[in-house]
Subunit: 452 residues, 2 copies
């Protein structure tokens, strides 16, 4: 199967390259890299431990370093750039798209940035200033300024001749932009319209003058939603006066979509900035330790709550044995709801009109599952310990905690969102704090009441 | 800001529609829906509780129901289709893309499927059979058969005239496919090449004859990786003999990328098939209860392990108070590693050459974080309980469990992957079982040894 071939091909290269590097056969590595397209070289770098990665990078032909940098994920790219000479960075950014150029420059420390810009020629320096003038994660930072513009009053024949004179079109050109003399956007002429209509027709009669444009300040995630919903390949970016500034193409949107979708997953595990599987140990452990620290605080809080019941635990050590079950089930049920709601918010499904319904729905699910698992755990505990009151106690605690999990899972992300806190990042820690404490209180509290 | 406008617009519609539905003003709803593009109608349906959704759907103009179905996420679409009459389904699928048609038909129960196909005309029935002949989640199931093909020996001028005769091009056409008389793929002529070269040039001299093609049986996730790495807008799909079968466009790939990225996140919370935020309560709670059941088993297992130490807990009830801390920290640290490795596997970064390194790296991070949090928890416990031996015991347990978390987090997904089990689905439950049991054994075991 060609699929297997494709993957084996990269894998084989990786093995060869790793082997050659470990044996100091740098000529061999250079030879392999020379035959590898930039996108595969990027994958090789991303799949390499950081030491091998550093060596590998120095063997990449400087002429294609820019192309490779464009293909790398941000985290890996920053790591590589921070080890490069300013002159080499300047050289590598020469042929870069505007959006990648902006991203690279933004990731540089201030002094290195000055050196890099100092090493650029006047034209590149102007391009750099331009690329940095837009806000990070905005449409402006995502766009390329390379657009093909035409006037409304010419015929298709004139357009065709103009394109032949112009030569190569920018990648992903599916629309030509129709602008007036002030460079104001007035419509789009799809390439397919250009190709399928008589050459003597006039642009103004055929252009799509209702084509939506993207305001330069729009957030990149909102841009991605527009692309996804309208199945666009490219879209024009304009300023407040509808002046055409550039265009965004689907290949950059694909990166935004993947990053956004991954962001939720990584954030929920407390890995906000960690995109590099092979980052250095110290860097990774630093990044992760914040999350572990927050978790330690919540675990201590739960222990503190449990300590109120120390005398109960002293009388009935079986409670200590069973004490983990109710919080654990609440945590799992709650994070199911939490995950679904975080995704729903990201997709724009959840808003004022339906969040009350959502809360009701999750509460109902919590109640249903609460009844089910309460009966089950009551049976298991009653038989295991031959203690029916204890079975009743844990069943009640389980039911209460699954209800709490439903409410917390549905409302925490909505509340955090309103407070402008990323629900994916903070949601799960707040949730488990709630389910741990409710679980312990419900179980040990009820037990103290009925059993002591 | 236009961004706010866009979102407010949909939100406003949603509020209007919900309000109108609740008041039985169906004419009003129809009027709003008539002005709403299919992609926004889809968003309205996805954002509505299922009862409102059912009513809403019946008010969507049957002429655009097919377009709306194409835009809906699979889970929501299946729910709607299962309530439709076979004749209406057949009518709605008439103008559907081949890939969406296949998806819709695949989701029907056998008897409904027979009725739907029975209600189709001969042409649509042939198209249906064709669409279903490819394996689910393969390139074949993703492609459209609507391609523009040309011969190698004609001039660009002939191509241009042919396109004008043909009329409209399929969406996302950036390449014309060059085929021989047997419909064998021999190259691609980019539209931009067609537009920027003299009309008297011959196709064969300009076409890209090294353009990669997609084998019809390739898995859709691998297709998506190819699109992402090569920044393609469309690609030709061929059979084993290089016969051109169809083409895949980036808009369908965007869906695959989003689904794949979301799949990991949803699976890790045990929400494998749950894509619908507003699914009926019974359906949701059924789906989630399997996961809760598995978790109950692991929680009982942990309780069973703790029960070995019941006599220790009887003597030292403070151990019961602190018993949750070590497993909790192990669970968090382990799921950080797990999440990163699952993502690395999905992106193709992890393989035989680097997994040993990865294990070493995660072990080192576990050790580093282990030392840090051991010292901290030892200090907290020693001061809180004024018991330095207890502080040492919990520090040792913490260190051991963070090591175990690193090993388990890195190796479990790789092992599951080898066993052909989805690491995103099964990984976290296996992981927490390990970190719970190691945590309890290490803490209560060491405590029994030193303190009792």
């Amino acid at each position: 199967m060609p699929e297997a071939l494709e993957q084996d091909y990269t894998l084989q290269q990786l093995q060869q390259v790793t082997h050659a590097i470990n044996n100091g056969q740098f000529v061999q590595v250079r030879r392999i890299l020379a035959e590898t397209p930039p996108c595969d070289t990027a994958l090789l770098l991303e799949s390499s431990p950081h030491k091998v990665r550093t060596q590998l990078w120095q063997l990449v032909d400087p002429d294609i370093q820019g192309d490779v940098l464009e293909e790398l994920s941000e985290d890996v790219r920053i790591g590589i750039i921070n080890q490069m000479d300013p002159e080499l960075i300047a050289a590598a950014t020469e042929d870069m798209d505007d959006d990648d150029l902006g991203e690279v420059l933004r990731s540089l420390p201030e002094d290195v940035y000055q050196d890099v810009v100092g090493a650029m020629d006047a034209q590149d320096r102007a391009r750099a200033t331009q690329a940095l003038s837009y806000q990070e994660r905005s449409a402006g930072a995502l766009m390329s300024t390379d657009t093909v513009t035409i006037r409304p009053d010419v015929t298709l024949d004139v357009v065709l001749r103009y394109l032949r004179l112009r030569g190569e079109l920018p990648d992903g050109t599916d629309d030509l932009y129709v602008v007036d003399k002030e460079n104001q956007f007035i419509g789009a002429l799809p390439i397919s319209t250009l190709l399928t209509n008589p050459p003597d027709k006039v642009v103004a009669d055929l252009m799509d003058d209702e084509k939506e444009t993207i305001p330069v300040s729009m957030d990149e995630s909102d841009v991605a939603q527009l692309f996804e919903r309208h199945n666009w390949i490219s879209a024009a970016v304009v300023d407040d006066n509808l002046q055409l500034l550039g265009r965004i193409t689907i290949d950059d949107i694909v990166d935004v979509i993947r990053e956004d979708a991954e962001h939720s997953m990584l954030s929920m595990a407390g890995l906000d900035d960690e995109e590099d599987t092979f980052a250095p140990v110290l860097k990774s452990s630093q990044r992760r330790s914040i999350w572990l620290g927050i978790n330690l605080l919540t675990a201590l809080l739960a222990a503190f709550v449990a300590s109120f019941f120390e005398s109960t635990l002293d009388i009935l050590p079986i409670l200590a044995v069973l004490n983990g079950i109710v919080p654990s089930m609440g945590g799992v049920a709650g994070s199911q709801t939490l995950t679904l709601v975080i995704r729903g918010i990201a997709l724009g499904h959840i808003n004022n009109t339906n969040q009350k319904f959502l809360l009701g729905k999750e509460l109902a699910i919590g109640a249903l599952n609460g009844v089910l698992w309460s009966i089950l755990i009551a049976g298991v505990v009653a038989i295991w310990q031959w203690d029916f009151v204890l079975g009743g106690v844990i069943a009640f605690a389980m039911f209460m905690n699954l209800l709490a999990a439903g409410i917390a899972g549905a409302s925490i992300p909505i509340i955090l969102k309103r407070m402008n806190i990323d629900p994916a990042l903070a949601g799960s820690v707040v949730l488990t704090t709630v389910t741990d404490i409710v679980g312990i209180f419900a179980f040990l509290g009820t037990a103290t009441w009925f059993l002591v």
